[in-house]
C-alpha cells in the first residue's frame, strides 16, 4: 500500500488567484496522477506527473492553467492558476508503485471552493 497526504485539505479562494496543492507519499512510487472530481461526479484525469520532465496533460487541460511539478519520487504539486468558480472541485492525487498497470492509491483530496 501507500500512505498519501495532501495539503491543504480544503481551501476557499478568491477568483483570479492561484493555489498550489501538495501531494506527499510515504515511499518512492513510479507514477503520480492528478485528478479532478466535481461533487457527485466521476474522476477526470488532469495529468500524469513525470519525475524530472514535463507532465503529460489530458485533453482539455493545459500547463498554463495547471502547472505540475514532480521533483522526486515521493512528492508532487499541482497549481490551479487564475482560478474561477468553475475550478471549484475536489483535487485528488494518486500513485502507482509498479512499472505497469497496477493498483492506484489515492490521497484524501483537496476540496477547493472559488468565490
Amino acid at each position: 500500500s501507500a500512505v498519501i497526504s495532501q495539503k491543504p485539505s480544503r481551501d476557499i479562494c478568491q477568483r483570479g488567484t492561484s493555489l498550489t496543492i501538495q501531494c506527499q507519499v510515504d515511499s518512492q512510487v513510479t507514477m503520480m496522477f492528478w485528478y479532478r472530481q466535481q461533487p457527485g461526479q466521476s474522476l477526470t484525469l488532469i495529468a500524469t506527473a513525470n519525475q524530472g520532465s514535463e507532465a503529460t496533460y489530458e485533453s482539455g487541460f493545459v500547463i498554463d492553467k495547471f502547472p505540475i511539478s514532480r521533483p522526486n519520487l515521493t512528492f508532487s504539486t499541482l497549481t490551479v492558476s487564475n482560478m474561477s468558480p468553475e475550478d471549484s472541485s475536489i483535487y485528488l492525487c494518486s500513485v502507482v508503485r509498479g512499472t505497469g498497470f497496477d493498483t492506484q492509491y489515492f490521497g484524501p483530496g483537496t476540496r477547493l471552493t472559488v468565490l
Binding site: 466521476s42 474522476l43 477526470t44 484525469l45 494518486s94 492506484q104 483530496g109
Partner: protein
C-alpha cells in the same frame, strides 16, 4: 476511443439482498480492469482488479467481479449487501497512450449505492 460505461447512476437495494453493478468498457487491447469504492467522507479504495487468468476475481469486503470479454463487461457482485456498503462505486480501465506508450486510467461515471434497512 477508450471508455468505461456504468449504466446505473443510482441503485437502491435492501440490506441482505444481492447486488450487481454493471460496467462496460471499450478498449482494443487486453484490458486491465478495476473496481474502486468511495465511501462518504472517505478516500477511494480498491475493491478488486483483473489483469489476466481466472475471469472471476475476488475482492475485499465480500465483493467479486466477473470479466466477460465477449460482452466487454466487468460487473461487480455481492451476494448479501450490508448497510455499510452504501457508497459510490467506480469501474476503471488501464489504458495505454498510443502516442507516448505511457499509461493512464479511465474511470466510469460511478454508481451510487443506497442500502435500505
Amino acid at each position: 476511443a477508450q471508455s468505461v460505461t456504468q449504466p446505473d447512476i443510482h441503485i437502491t437495494v435492501s440490506e441482505g439482498a444481492s447486488l450487481e453493478l454493471r460496467c462496460n468498457y471499450s478498449y482494443g487491447a487486453t484490458p486491465y480492469l478495476f473496481w474502486y469504492v468511495q465511501s462518504p467522507g472517505q478516500g477511494l479504495q480498491l475493491l478488486l482488479k483483473y489483469f489476466s487468468g481466472d475471469t472471476l476475481v475476488q475482492g475485499i469486503k465480500g465483493f467479486e467481479a466477473e470479466f466477460k470479454r465477449s460482452q466487454s463487461s466487468f460487473n461487480l457482485r455481492k451476494p448479501s449487501v450490508h448497510w455499510s456498503d452504501a457508497a459510490e462505486y467506480f469501474c476503471a480501465v488501464g489504458a495505454m497512450r498510443t502516442t507516448s506508450g505511457t499509461y493512464k486510467y479511465i474511470f466510469g461515471t460511478g454508481t451510487r449505492l443506497k442500502v435500505l434497512a
